[in-house]
């Protein structure tokens, strides 16, 4: 008596309420996968106390759940799963209960994948090669090595080793090493990064993801443009950032690239240089991002209209701290590579990259406090309809970014960098206060949105409405490519 799990034969349906226990589970095809990882998932099904008091339906449901869990390791092919059930011929089986032998077939994904390709975007071309070594030690560990080069990202090398903890696909430990060299034309310099991080990610019961990180990185601000501003020149050179961070993401959107309903909540917190972290920079930095969309239905129609209203808010704050253990020691204000940048086609549209906030000459030097928001309305295009990934959008967005100021008392040397904790607090409080003082810098426009599963593309026509001198608006067309938009 063999029946495929997915076939839903009517004979099986009638028996779903009969008592049935799992006698054995065999997994076939997982030749490169460690036994322990399979045991973690399937042993409780056989040995768990509820096994003996289950119905056939419950037993099958448990097998299904375990199989889905197995698939989340991403080492088996999605379409390779198959389960076969047969009645166990055990002489000592109790007469009132069916004993089941279950065989699960899996197909392992290729353990070694190399890809290479080219990308275009951002007025630059780039080429990448990527190697993924899957299931290296048989415990769903992944090593991914990536190298790419382009005209803006001069070079980037990244190696990442990731392993599930406790054979649980929802808890992963990731060890990362990174070396990159990136042009930052909005502030006339290149930044070289060399560093590593250790991350622990897990999925909470509410399906929110948490990531806790330790990050140590050597930053080198170099390759200054001839006309680089004094602000950038003053920050040129080496610094080490040693920080711990936490990222919380709750994504309840129907489609991250083209949300029509649902919401996203993301918070990012970072603590650098404090206490044992040391390094060259010390600050607490936090950022909150939320966005949502509501579908609108046409009057008199139940069908999905494809029309939606959406909005998003992002706020961030950087608070300078004293390096080391003494919280009463003076703190140094932020450097350009730690401050926020705001503006750009995937951010506050209608502004150049880093177009908002303090500028020194042509350089966007970043801010310590910012708030930005956007509202948009999406319409499906005629004839293509609501199911197409194309939308016409109307939007208005704006933001305000200010930097911490230092008030120099009379008789004090204005060229001493460190600030007393009280001054830091007053400065940050005053910067937060300035966010609401006066209109934010605002742009509005319309355009086309195309949601590809990998990334979202936007072509917009926009005009800046409110601007601060020094800020760089963008009049006319602007193209944005990205995976997260304001």
């Amino acid at each position: 008596m063999g029946a495929s799990l997915g076939s839903g034969s009517s004979g099986l349906d009638e028996h779903l309420l009969t008592p049935a226990a799992i006698n054995s589970i065999e997994v076939h095809g997982a030749s490169n996968t460690r036994r322990s990882i399979l045991d973690r998932i399937f042993k409780p099904l056989v040995e768990g106390p509820e096994n003996l008091s289950s119905t056939l339906g419950e037993s099958l449901e448990r097998v299904g759940a375990a199989t889905r869990r197995l698939s989340r390791f991403d080492i088996f092919k999605e379409d390779g799963f198959g389960a076969f059930i047969s009645e166990a011929n055990r002489p000592d089986a109790p007469p009132n209960r069916t004993e089941l032998d279950i065989a699960i077939n899996v197909k392992e994904k290729s353990r070694l994948v190399f890809t290479a390709g080219t990308d275009f975007g951002n007025a630059e071309g780039s080429a990448y090669t990527n190697g993924v070594f899957r299931n290296i030690f048989g415990g769903a560990e992944t090593l991914s090595i990536n190298a790419s080069t382009g005209t803006r990202t001069r070079s980037a090398y990244n190696a990442s080793f990731s392993t599930p903890l406790n054979a649980n696909p929802d808890i992963r430990l990731v060890l990362d090493a990174l070396r990159s060299s990136t042009q930052k034309p909005w502030a006339s310099h290149d930044e070289h990064l060399t560093g590593g991080s250790l991350k622990l990610s897990w999925l909470s019961d509410s399906k929110a993801t948490h990531t806790v990180t330790y990050n140590g990185v050597w930053r080198q601000l170099t390759g200054l443009a001839p006309k680089a501003s004094p602000t950038v020149r003053a920050d040129a050179g080496d610094s080490v950032k040693s920080s711990i961070g936490h990222i919380y993401t709750l994504d309840r959107r129907d489609n991250p690239m083209l949300p029509q309903s649902g919401y996203l909540l993301k918070t990012t917190s970072e603590l650098a240089g404090w206490g044992p972290l040391s390094g060259d920079v010390a600050f607490a930095k936090t950022e909150l991002e939320t966005s949502g969309a509501i579908p609108l239905s046409l009057p008199g129609s139940q069908a999905k209209s494809g029309v939606s209203i959406g909005g998003g808010v992002r706020v961030g704050l950087l608070y300078p701290l004293a390096l080391g253990y003494n919280p009463a020691a003076p703190a140094c204000p932020s450097r350009i590579n730690d401050r926020f940048q705001l503006g750009g086609p995937a951010d506050v549209r209608g502004f150049k990259l880093g177009g908002l906030g303090p500028h020194d000459g042509a350089d966007s030097v970043g801010g310590d406090v910012f708030a930005a928001g956007s509202v948009n309305m999406m319409f499906p295009l005629p004839r293509l309809g609501a199911d197409s990934p194309l939308r016409f959008q109307l939007f208005a967005n704006g933001g305000r970014m200010v930097a911490l100021q230092k008030k120099v008392a009379t008789g004090e040397n204005g060229r001493v960098l460190a600030m007393e904790p009280k001054k830091v607090f007053e400065g940050v409080a005053s910067a937060v206060g300035q966010l609401g003082n006066g209109l934010p810098s605002v742009a509005a426009g319309f355009g086309l949105v195309y949601a590809h599963p990998m990334a979202r593309f936007e072509l917009n026509f926009s005009l800046p409405l409110v601007l601060r001198r020094g800020e760089e608006g963008r009049k006319g067309l602007q193209v944005g490519v990205g995976i997260s938009f304001l």
Binding site: N158, V174, T182, T209, R233, R335, H359, K475
Partner: protein, 361 residues
């Protein structure tokens, strides 16, 4: 909701970086359809000189030129322009004084640069001394080679209000002559060119002492590593890079192949050559009646160049392990020519104690 597997291997920030090799959020296409500035700059770059009246006559119906009605619309925006955002505190502190004064970017500690104290780098000290001898007011800022347009310090940045273009050290004499009243503030004797080669053995011995003598490692750290980073890991990396660069510079200076390794450096020879050069310099001074090189009335670029080395040696290396200090003292048969000259420059450029006075004028 099942997350794509890649999500777990790469938290969001790195996913962008991974897949595309850069952060996707920051991708833009720049279409030159938005402003006429590109065309204007090109015209002024190619045509000499660009006459404003000539421009309307050029039809230039480029594909990307903006139609007149659109340009009219663009000119209406932004509707409101507010006051600029003030600069961040770090920038204010480090650069606001440079609104009115030029800034010399040098190797120094934060505190020393604030007080305008002498740099610990011979090349920086040379130009710092020359500027001070010329009584040109300027500020000093601690910096690193990464900040420099030429890849090495020092350089002079004019006041923000004057020009954003940094002045490389080689153009500092020109800057001085433009910003001082005396017609020829910098005596540059034609003979000085010939004697510049005497500084090379001194330079090699200086490199050997500071970068390749273990007894001076603490000083090297204090001079070049501590101002850059507090991290011991990065400090070690930077120090290794510095020592490697120094040893290859010494080998190159000796005409040896850089693969010879530091074992190929005969430090006794280096110090003997330096002693010989210092002797020659002392004799040269004896010949001069004015107390400055080549009989000039005022100390000039050659004096400043030698002071770059002698100033650092006498301030930091005049110790039992630092043989260069003794060589300077004994140069020219022990007549104290060089020491006397060093003290004269110090007084002239740096005031009484030669360290802190008159840092900022």
């Amino acid at each position: 909701m099942q997350l794509p597997a890649a999500f777990w291997t790469h938290p969001p920030e790195l996913l962008h970086f991974d897949r595309w090799g850069r952060r996707c959020q920051h991708r833009t296409f720049r279409i030159p359809y938005t402003s006429s500035t590109a065309t204007v700059t090109m015209a002024s770059a190619t045509a000499t000189p660009p006459k404003p009246s000539a421009r309307p006559n050029q039809p230039a119906p480029s594909l990307w030129s903006i139609p007149a009605p659109l340009q009219k619309l663009f000119n209406q925006f932004p509707l409101v322009t507010l006051d600029p955002n003030p600069l961040p505190a770090r920038s204010q502190t480090l650069t606001s004084a440079s609104d009115t004064l030029p800034t010399l970017y040098i190797f120094s500690s934060d505190e020393d640069a604030l007080e305008g104290k002498p740099s610990i780098n011979p090349t920086c000290l040379k130009w710092q001394t020359l500027l001070r001898l010329s009584h040109v007011p300027f500020l000093t800022s601690p910096s690193s080679n990464h900040a420099s347009p030429t890849g090495s310090l020092p350089f002079l940045l004019p006041p923000r209000t004057v020009s954003p273009n940094p002045i490389p050290s080689t153009s500092i004499p020109l800057y001085i002559s433009r910003h001082t009243n005396s017609p020829s503030p910098l005596p540059t004797s034609p003979r000085s060119e010939a004697y510049l080669s005497l500084l090379t053995p001194l330079r090699l011995a200086f490199l050997q002492t500071l970068y390749l003598t273990p007894a001076f490692t603490p000083l090297l750290k204090k001079f070049y590593i501590d101002p850059s980073t507090r991290s011991s890991v990065l400090g070690t990396i930077l120090q290794t890079q510095l020592s490697a660069a120094a040893s290859s510079a010494v080998l190159q200076g000796l005409g040896l192949h850089s693969q010879t390794g530091t074992g190929g450096i005969d430090s006794e020879n280096l110090y003997a050559d330096a002693a010989e050069a210092l002797d020659s310099l002392a004799i040269l001074l004896q010949e001069s009646q004015t107390g400055w090189f080549f009989g000039e009335e005022k100390p000039g670029e050659f004096d400043a160049g030698l002071y770059g080395y002698v100033g650092v040696i006498m301030a930091h290396m005049d110790t039992p392990e630092g043989r260069l200090g003794g060589l300077v003292r004994r140069a020219g048969g022990g007549g104290g020519e060089l020491v006397g000259w060093w003290e004269r420059i110090r007084r002239e450029a740096w005031g009484g104690d030669g360290l802190s006075e008159g840092g900022e004028k």
